[in-house]
Symmetry: C2
Subunit: 158 residues, 2 copies
DNA sequence: TATTGTTATACTCTATAACTATA
DNA sequence: TATAGTTATAGAGTATAACAATA
C-alpha cells in the first residue's frame, strides 16, 4: 500500500502555504494570548499606529471587519485603555479612534511574540534562504492582491 | 506621516506565511464549495484514499479531529454515498470506514480546484522559483513538526 | 475499568437586520 | 434619503460532559 496521495496535494505549493500559514497564525495567537491581546486587536492597534487616527467605519473598511463587529472590538480596547473615542468635529455621527500611550506600550509588548514566531518559522533557514523565501512570498501576495499588513482572517468567516 | 509599521511585521516571514496561507485556504474552500465538499471532508476522503480503511477513532487521531465531531462528519459523507460504515470484526464497538467508488470519484473532482489554486498562487513564479519555494516550505513545515497532508485547521479552533 | 461511537448542552463567533442620531 | 455607530437575534461551529455497548 502506498502512502502517496492520489492528488499529491500534500507537497503542492497551495497546501504547504496553507498548512504552514495556519500554524504560523496559531503560534502567533498562542504567544499573544498571555498578553491579553487577540490577533484582531493587534491588527487594529497596528493600523492606528501606522496610519494615525481612523473612525470606526474607516478602520472597518481598512481591515475588512464589519462595522457591527468593530463596536465590541473598540469597546474592549477602550476598556483596556489602549484607544480613546472622540467625537469627530466634522461629522458628529462618527468617532475618531486614537491610540493612547498605553496602546503604544501594548504594541511594544508584541515585539517579543513576533520575534519568537519569526525564529520558530525561519530558524532552520540560512540568512539568504530567509531572504529568498520572503521575496517569493511577497510576489505571491502581490499577485493575490493582498494588502500589506492586512490579514484575511480579520474579516471573519472563511 | 510614515506608512511603515513600528513592528515591521507586514514584511516578516511569519506574517507573510500566515497571510498568503489564509488566502490559499480560502481559495481552496471557495473552489470546493460548488462541489459540496468541505475542506474537512476532503481531508477525510484523502486520508482514506492514501492509507486505507480507518475506524472513526483512528481517523480522528490521524487528522486531529475530535471523535465527537467525527460522527456528524461521517454521517454527512455516508449520506452522500462517499463512505460506508462497517462493523469491525475484531472490535464490535468500532466502525471501519471505507471509501466507496463514489467517494473516489469525489476525490477526482477535486483535482480541478487543486490545480486552479496552485496556478493562482504559483502562476507568477518561474518553474525554478516554484521549486525553490516548495523546498523551503517543506523544510519549515518539517521544523514545525507538521504532518504531511494534515492541515491544522482540521482540528478546530485556533 | 477503559474505550468506541453517540448524543445533548453550552459557549464562541459571526451574519443579518433593525434602530438612533446625525448628515 | 443615506451614513456612523449601536444593539438584538439567530445561526454555524466547536468544546465539554455524559451515556450505551463492548472490550
Amino acid at each position: 500500500m502506498t502512502r502517496e496521495p492520489g492528488t499529491g496535494y500534500a507537497r503542492s505549493l497551495a497546501f504547504l502555504l496553507s498548512q504552514v500559514g495556519a500554524r504560523s497564525a496559531e503560534l502567533f495567537a498562542d504567544q499573544l494570548r498571555p498578553l491579553g491581546i487577540s490577533p484582531r486587536v493587534f491588527g487594529v492597534l497596528s493600523n492606528l499606529e501606522i496610519a494615525g487616527d481612523h473612525t470606526q467605519q474607516q478602520l472597518a473598511d481598512a481591515l475588512g471587519i464589519h462595522r457591527n463587529n468593530m463596536v465590541a472590538l473598540i469597546d474592549e480596547m477602550e476598556a483596556e485603555g489602549w484607544v480613546r473615542r472622540r467625537r469627530s468635529a466634522n461629522d458628529r455621527r462618527a468617532f475618531n479612534i486614537g491610540l493612547t500611550p498605553a496602546g503604544r506600550r501594548a504594541i511594544d509588548r508584541v515585539r517579543g511574540p513576533i520575534a519568537y514566531v519569526e525564529q520558530a518559522l525561519g530558524g532552520v533557514l540560512e540568512e539568504n534562504e530567509r531572504a529568498t523565501l520572503t521575496v517569493l512570498l511577497e510576489r505571491v501576495a502581490a499577485e493575490l492582491g493582498l494588502t500589506p499588513g492586512v490579514h484575511p482572517h480579520l474579516r471573519g468567516r472563511r
